[in-house]
């Protein structure tokens, strides 16, 4: 994937074009961009013929992993990938680790696995299982396994753990990604963790930036509720949190911020330098 900045405004907002989208040939997308949210592989209430009416706005699709995880074995047998299974193969498919409409309880991630909450309850996912899922699903873009549970507000210890584990997961995912024939055309995104602790967030950003990832996902900001620690984004104190992360990230890679942002907050996030959003606000 190629991220080309076309212009950067004085206040920090960026316009860019993303090309070289693997199996999608010459197609490109422009950022700031919104991913279309899905639930268990369907765009809520819309069948594909209705989705087509949204035209290019419905092109980039967000597939949160939790509600799809139960289909892992089926997809392995199916062998044509999740895009084909969902009749969405002509869309750009991005697979995230968590579902920002499901608030997972704290304290269920361990050193070697992350808990994802599906329909029948909790599923433990370690790097091996995670990468096996990616190979069965064959998404265009995916977020590397990450521990976004930063513990209680102010808890340095847990925040540090989330940073450390996430980097360890990322490194192992990158290793397996490199060896994988099936994922040759897929792109892997790294996640910035650290919760409410500034030093941990900066460490996470600095370290993740060193890895050969296609882009970055800002995570771990749901300290009390969806993006609770950073909303509203135009306020002092709140926007600094995002700014401090972005200062450590290279300009020439896209930044994703998940979660229900209303239009005012999206505009504020764009000005700070965020490129990609999801449409969970609608739900």
């Amino acid at each position: 994937m190629k991220f080309s900045l076309r212009s950067v405004s004085q206040r920090g907002g960026r316009l860019a074009t993303i090309s070289e989208l693997g199996r999608h040939g010459d197609k490109t997308v422009t950022t700031p961009m919104c991913l279309v949210f899905t639930q268990a592989g369907t765009i809520p209430h819309l069948t594909n013929d209705m989705v087509q009416k949204l035209g290019k706005h419905a092109y980039p699709v967000h597939l949160p992993l939790p509600l799809l995880l139960e289909s892992h074995e089926i997809l392995q047998k199916y062998s044509n990938g999740i895009g084909d299974f969902l009749a969405l193969k002509h869309h750009l498919l991005y697979l995230s680790v968590q579902d920002s409409t499901i608030r997972p309880p704290e304290g269920f991630n361990e050193k070697s696995f992350v808990s994802l909450w599906g329909r029948s309850g909790r599923l433990n996912v370690d790097v091996d299982k995670f990468m096996s899922v990616q190979e069965a699903f064959k998404p265009d873009w995916y977020q590397a396994l990450c521990d976004s549970d930063a513990g209680k507000v102010g808890s340095r210890k847990r925040a540090h753990k989330s940073v450390e584990r996430t980097l360890a997961y990322l490194d192992r995912c990158l290793e397996k990604h490199k060896e994988s024939e099936v994922l040759r055309h897929s792109c892997i995104f790294g996640s910035i963790e650290g919760g409410s602790v500034a030093e941990e967030r900066e460490l996470s950003a600095k370290e993740t930036a060193k890895r050969p990832v296609a882009g970055f996902v800002l995570e771990g900001l749901d300290t009390n509720g969806p993006l609770d620690s950073v909303l509203p984004l135009c306020e002092n104190g709140k926007k600094e949190i995002i700014q401090s992360i972005l200062n450590e990230l290279p300009d020439e890679k896209p930044r994703i911020l998940h979660g229900p942002l209303d239009p005012a907050n999206i505009l504020a996030a764009v000005e700070l330098g965020i490129d990609i959003f999801d449409s969970t606000y609608l739900f």
Binding site: H45, L46, I74, A87
Partner: protein, 396 residues
Amino acid sequence: MSAPVNHSALTLKVLAECSVTKARACQLSLPHSVVDTPVFMPVGTQGSLKGITPEQLENSGCQIMLGNTYHLGSNPGAELFDKVGGLHKFMGWKRNLLTDSGGFQMVSLVALSEVTEEGVRFSNPYDAKDMLLTPEKSIEIQNSIGADIIMQLDDVVSSTISGPRVEEAMGRSIRWLDRCIEAHKKTKTQNLFAIIQGGLDSRLRTICLNEMSKRNVPGFAIGGLSGGEDKNDFWKMVTLSTDFLPKHKPRYLMGVGFPVDLVVCSALGCDMFDCVYPTRTARFGTALIPTGKLDLKKKGCAEDFRPIDENCSCSTCRQFTRAYLHTIVTKETVASILLTIHNIQYQMDLMRSIKEAIIQDKYPEFVNDFMQKQFPTRNYPEWTVDALASVNIKLS
């Protein structure tokens, strides 16, 4: 000398009659479009088929659908339809509509209704307001809604009851028919159908048939059936009615039904049908297929990578596997929509093949073939054997 101008809002052209049974294939011309019969009409009670857009319904080949006067009359109400210019405009449906009078709710909502000679009084469960539905009021609301076919208000009793109430209802339905005819203001654009009542009593049915066929209405419906009565009684009332009703006017069998019912009752001479079954069962995860039903919730579908029906051309079957549908059925709203689209297509395809078989005068073969697929062990329900035998089809 010029041909007489036809002012009627309905014309029926019989294209073919089966040489063995009473089945006929016709072309029914209505104000909004032509309808091929036998026809199945899906039910969109409140002005839409749950989850389906008019465009999706059009794509299935559907030419006529139902709306319900009781529901639409209370919400959004006749006044709004007058302002908007009718239900067609309100819902964006360019083809035909048929409205039921609100009479059936007397049965389905019997706990909330009270019948007198004047009309039916309903207490509305949603806003606790009372509604008195008289024949005049029903026609008034139906005139506002603007459907191509409107139904008389009839006094409907459950088909499972017997006794003097049945005769009372039959007599009252005749009197209410006359009041409806009197009240109907839009005869040039809307066709008022009479509804034959009389329960499961052939004497009462015959009286009703005699009386109602004297009235000059564009079409007749066979009502008061398909309410849980014994099928052995049901078919006899259907065939009695089609024996008697004029051949040059359409026969609408209300509330029917399952695919087997459609095939058999077409043989008995019915032209039009309606039922909530295919759309309702879709929302519960069941797809209709040539051999009967497919329950997508069953574990057996989890790794089945075939479409619901390999020969179906609907958008669901063209894009999705049973395995995929199994993951979302009853859990995501899209599943309801996808299965509804399939089930409607199934019904449309079934009616088309019934029609084609009649036109080619091969209906008995078609019926045998259909029944063998539905009942591979040949354990045909007794009523189907008897009903088909009455029109000279012997099931092998």
